[in-house]
Symmetry: C2
């Protein structure tokens, strides 16, 4: 990667989860980088106010997190995802990140996966009309029962396949897929099919903490070949933003500006 | 599954880790079931003494755990695995379970996987001569950096492929592979290639405990379709022992005889 990569840095707000969203957007404006937003803080600041601040400051929103949780695709779940698509459209976010959801009580993983397929069929036309790409995120298999039944890039691509690439894509998040012996094939296929709707970096550090959700490592602290991933994604023709999203208890205890600056430096160090 | 499955129950000693091995073997003799042993307790009781007790009591040892940890296949690592093969042969264990090991410090997962391939090539003829099958165990991807770089059944089968099936097979352990969207293909292939060297059951329960290694659920407590797995394995023509191996802190705190009885009941309940 060249120094050019630094201009593609996008800071996912969850990396400094408790940092006021308005301040985070201001920091991204000063640093001339993009931002990944979450529905909760957007609602807190107000959807229109957030959209206004983004417009005024010229900050690009690279994704909205998150929709999904539709393994049991009830009308309520579909409605909530339609609202999330509307929010993404109003914010100008090109992608809505989808975490598929758990195995419903008493159900099977196969049935849950079929539910995801149904939900995507119900939502894809709505997303396409609004110019938002649904970005299916495979999560690490340690989350397969309670958070996301979609566990590999191949599975996400197979779920996306029936739909136009502008309507349904995938998230390539290093933290979740780095262990997969077929990950390079998956990235090449995702690129060839035009399905890379979001590219996110986080590192894998062991031992995992109590509460495995919040153990994502700062870039360079773990074992993932992050630069190799960035090069593989770019080799497919992807030239979009590179988001850094770290769920990490230790980071969350620190001041947002400090976390932002450290993360940007780490990004530069590992990619250039 | 019919009531016949109960006769294939084998109790892996790690399920009651702190239970004296001699007593565990005695319990298996009384219950007319097999046992899976671990090198540490075997060494403690003495290899010859353990082999003698097994012979005298007629208890079948269904596997020896474990060899492996050879992602950096040094002469010392290979030697240790040769000793493990010798121990398996002396105990009459048909399979030596292999946990491949971590990514070596500063190395990459690809290099570590190549190391596993080298180690297998060095060990397979030795194992074949002694009538022991090396059983490559894919571990859950949450262990891919620090314990086992082999993460899927497909990967294990690809590693086994260059060797005769009598020398190198795989472990089908529900806990590690249940999340895999291609698991049924993997089981069918493993059976067709005659590679199922060990079949183990454990259930997946969330939330995972602090220290993810010791959170394997009692059969029936989690989300894995255990009977479906047993049927799929048997549909390939496998008719061997079905081991139950639960690493579980709560179980380890309880008396061995109680854990043994509960596990046997759970096995019967989920399979028949």
């Amino acid at each position: 990667m060249s120094g050019e990569a630094l201009h593609r840095f996008s800071f996912n707000h969850a990396t400094a989860k408790f940092w006021d969203q308005r301040e985070a957007i201001e920091a991204c404006a000063r640093a001339d980088c993009g931002i990944g937003l979450w529905r909760g803080p957007v609602a807190e600041q107000g959807l229109a106010a957030t959209a206004g601040q983004l417009r005024d400051s010229g900050v690009e929103v690279t994704s909205l997190c998150r929709g999904g949780f539709f393994t049991d695709p009830t009308p309520a779940a579909i409605d909530d995802n339609r609202r999330a698509i509307d929010e993404a459209a109003e914010l100008g976010a090109p992608a809505l990140v989808l975490v598929s959801g758990p195995i419903p009580e008493g159900g099977t993983i196969d049935a849950a996966r079929a539910g995801v397929g149904e939900a995507l069929a119900a939502l894809a036309p709505y997303a396409a009309e609004r110019g938002v790409t649904l970005a299916i995120e495979p999560l690490h298999p340690m989350f397969a029962s309670d958070r996301c039944v979609v566990a590999t890039l191949k599975e996400a691509l197979d779920l996306a396949a029936p739909h136009p690439a502008a309507a349904v894509g995938v998230v390539v998040d290093t933290y979740h897929i780095w262990w997969d012996p077929e990950v390079w094939d998956g990235i090449a296929r995702a690129g060839a099919e035009g399905r890379i709707a979001s590219f996110q970096l986080a590192d894998w550090v062991t031992p995992l903490p109590a509460g495995v959700l919040t153990g994502r490592g700062q870039l360079g602290d773990g074992c993932i070949e992050l630069r190799r991933y960035a090069e593989a994604v770019d080799a497919t023709g992807f030239g979009g933003p590179i988001e850094v999203e770290l769920f990490n208890d230790a980071l969350w205890e620190r001041p947002g500006p400090e976390v932002f600056a450290e993360t940007r430096r780490a990004f530069e160090r590992v990619l250039t």
